[in-house]
Structures are given as C-alpha cells and as structure tokens.
C-alpha cells in the first residue's frame, strides 16, 4: 500500500489524468481555439514554404512541360486535321452514293434498259462544243452511239470511245438534233442545241396548240434514242405568220453544268440511217 501512494505513482496518475482530460476536451471541441492559435502560424508558414517550393520547381521544370504540351497540341491538331479530312471524304462519298442511289432508282424504274453507271471526269476544251468525258469505255461495254441519261432525263449520246473513257455529245451541242414529242399537245418536233448550250424547239406545226411548261419526251424517231425519255419543258413559243413552223425555247431538265454521274443505256440498238439520208 505504501508503494501504491508513493509520490512517483501519484505524479504518474496526475499526468495520466491530465492527458486523458486533454484528450476528452480535444474530442469535445473545447481545445479548438487553442489548436487554432497554435497551428495557424504553422499552417501559414507551411503554405508559404510550399508555394515557394512549387514556384521554384516550376521555374526549372516548366520549359520541359511546355515542350511536351506543345508536342501534344501539335499531335492533337494533326489528328483533328486528319479527322476533318476524313469527314470531308466521307461527305463526298455520301454525296456520290446519294447520286448513285438516285441513278439506281431510275434504273429500277426503267427495267427495260440495261445501264452502265459512270462518273463525269471532264468537259470539252473548246467552249463552242458541248461534250463531257466519262470514266467508262469499251472495256466496260460502252459503244459508239449509245444514249446517255441521268435520273432526270436525256443527256446525250456516246461520240467517241477508248478503252477506259468515252466522250459524250450533249443534247445542248450546236450540232445536236433530237426528235421529241410534246406530251399534252401530242405533236412531234425537234430540239436543237447551240454553241452556248441553250436548247431551241423547232418543226412544230403552226396549228399545234403548245402551252408553256409543256413536257418534251423523246419520240424515238430516227432510231438514235429510246422513246419517252424526259428532255425538258417548253419555256416560250414563237409563231410567225409567214413561217412554216412554230419555234420555241426549251428548259432542259438536266443541269448540264453540274453533271457528276450518268447512265449509259447499253442495250439500245442505235439505227444508223445515214445511208438513207439524201
């Protein structure tokens, strides 16, 4: 017992009691102001020191990081450029596919003909002549004289063929004449091209009642084109008293300036009537 209440034990007990008391007070929040008072300067000092250290480190390491970032930026820019190129290519492919789908629809709607789909790759060098160059030739079954159409209507006919390309004479060419039928008026006439690509209508009888907007279809006369291909619409008509025929101007259904793909009718037998021509 003497040992239990010895001064040493009492001192230890007091210390343990004080420590426990401090822990309980700390856990209870009573010592927060004390801690704040003690730790605030320490934290401020630590923050200041840390900031200076980071600044000091950045001063020596930032150039390397900038170079890395620049390299990454360049790589990303390159990737963006590649993706943009890919998008443009895909959009072009989509546009081409849409045209081909439209041509396919036309081919399905006219199953009596066989078609060779081809792309327009060039236009005649002489501004006085209306020709286009397409990317299909004799290797693909294209032959001289075959009619050429789009989903909109008649384009022209094959004028020259080599192995992998052909030249197409458009119906707008000045030397071109196409026999047509005016659907509503039920009369036949002839359209002529010109050096500027405009189309005129001729050989319409004076007594024929032709309305503006009347639809023109190929008549099939002459054996150069199949019958009932859409050609255009009547824009205006002129009738002179002393003339044998009425004349007029025609709006072609095909936009010849933006032709990008065409169909060659491969199973149409062109009849050459040149020997019969006086």
């Amino acid at each position: 017992m003497r040992n239990l209440f010895s001064p040493k034990n009492i001192r230890n007990l007091v210390i343990v009691t004080i420590v426990l008391g401090l822990i309980v007070m700390a856990l209870s929040g009573y010592l927060t102001p004390v801690f704040s008072f003690i730790f605030s300067p320490t934290i401020s000092t630590q923050s200041w020191l840390s900031e200076r250290y980071v600044a000091f480190r950045d001063f020596f390491t930032s150039p390397r990081d900038m170079a890395t970032l620049r390299a990454q930026n360049q790589a990303l820019e390159l990737e963006v450029a590649q993706l943009q190129t890919e998008i443009v290519t895909l959009q072009e492919n989509l546009s081409q596919a849409e045209i081909l789908y439209t041509l396919l629809d036309f081919a399905r709607a006219h199953p009596e003909h066989e078609y060779i789909a081809s792309t327009v790759i060039g236009r005649e060098i002489s501004p006085y002549l209306q020709y286009i160059i397409i990317d299909k030739g004799s290797n693909h079954g294209v032959r001289y004289g075959m009619p050429v159409v789009t989903q909109e209507g008649l384009v022209g006919r094959i004028d020259a063929v080599i192995a992998n390309a052909s030249r197409v004479k458009l119906i707008t060419d000045a030397s071109m004449k196409v026999n047509v039928r005016l659907k509503a008026a039920n009369v036949e006439g002839q359209i002529n091209g010109s050096i500027t690509g405009e189309i005129s209508l001729g050989l319409i009888p004076q007594d024929a009642d032709v309305q503006i907007g009347e639809v023109l279809l190929t008549s099939g006369l002459g054996g150069t084109y199949p019958a009932n291909l859409f050609v255009g619409q009547v824009l205006s008509m002129q009738s002179k008293q002393n003339a044998l025929f009425q004349t007029g101007s025609v709006q072609a259904v095909v936009d010849f300036h933006s032709l990008s793909a065409v169909l060659v009718i491969s199973n149409f037998n062109v009849i050459d009537i040149t020997p019969l021509t006086p």
């Binding site: 236009r123 005649e124 060098i125 501004p127 006085y128 002549l129 004028d159 030397s175 050096i195 300036h257």
Partner: protein
C-alpha cells in the same frame, strides 16, 4: 532531258486542270484555256532545241481528247510556237508583255479556229453570240490567268535551266 520531262508533267497537270476544272468554270459561256496558256508560256520561256516536236506532241494529245480534229490543234499549237519565236526575237526584254501579246493573239486565233470548224461542219450558230458570250469572256479570263501561268512557267524554267543555257 529533265526539261522535257518537267514540261511534259506541267502539260499533263494543265490538261487535267483544264478538263476537270477550268472548262466548267465559265464566265457567260467563255472559259479560260490554261493548256493554251501553258503552251504559250512554254514557247516564250523554254530554251530547248526541239521544242516544236514537243508542242506537236502536246497538240496531238489535246486533239485526241477534244472533239476538234487533232490536226487542227497540232497546226494551231505549231503556229503558236512560230509566233512565239518571232516575238522572242523582238520584245523578249519584257517577258510579261510578250506573254500578254501572245495570249491575246493565240486566244483570238483559237476562237477563230473554232468558228472555222463550225463553218466547215455547217453547224448553225450566231456570230454575235459567239463574239459576246464566248470569245470576249474567254479572252478576259485568259488574260487574267496568263499572269499566273507566266509566273509558274518562268520560275520553273529558271529553276531547271540556268540563265542563258541551251539544252
């Protein structure tokens, strides 16, 4: 040899650009003819000995693609070559002026040749339409584009052949 190869490559590039782009790029109904301009610039600037053979071959190639008969175009390009030789003797001190002059003459001659072809083939056309809607716009475009073609051919020629050298 390198001069022949480079000028041939230049010709084919001009040919593809003409058929693919410039023939569709019209002012009214006239268009620039950069193949013609390339031939003009080549005849004015090239120092190769047998340029006339090359010009005839170029004419044959264009004639093979075009609906105009090939001998028309060969003869026309050869005439450009001869005209260029005469101009070089007289006013070569001002190459751009030579280019303008020969472009003007060659363009008018090219249109005259086309009109002559239409006459020969008995294709009906209106002469005033040809003049105002095709010839004059085409002449204007050719004059404008000739500056670019002249600069490209001149610089290319300077790079390939040293000044005064004759290959």
């Amino acid at each position: 040899m390198i001069t022949y190869i480079v000028s041939s490559i230049g010709f084919f590039i001009a040919l593809m650009l003409q058929y693919g782009i410039f023939s569709r790029w019209t002012l009214l109904s006239g268009s620039a003819d950069i193949v013609l301009l390339f031939i003009v610039a080549l005849c004015l600037h090239s120092n190769v000995k047998r340029l006339w053979v090359q010009v005839l071959i170029f004419g044959a190639i264009v004639g093979a693609i075009s609906a105009i008969p090939f001998y028309f175009i060969m003869a026309f390009y050869f005439a450009i070559f001869l005209a260029a030789q005469q101009i070089r003797k007289r006013i070569m001190q001002t190459p751009l002026l030579s280019m303008y002059l020969l472009t003007f003459i060659a363009t008018l001659a090219w249109h005259a040749l086309n009109i002559a072809y239409l006459f020969i083939k008995r294709i009906p056309f209106d002469l005033s339409t040809a003049l105002f809607e095709i010839m004059l716009p085409g002449l204007l475009l050719n004059i404008l584009v000739s500056i670019v073609i002249h600069a490209i051919v001149q610089e290319g020629n300077r790079m390939i052949t040293p000044k005064g050298a004759e290959v």
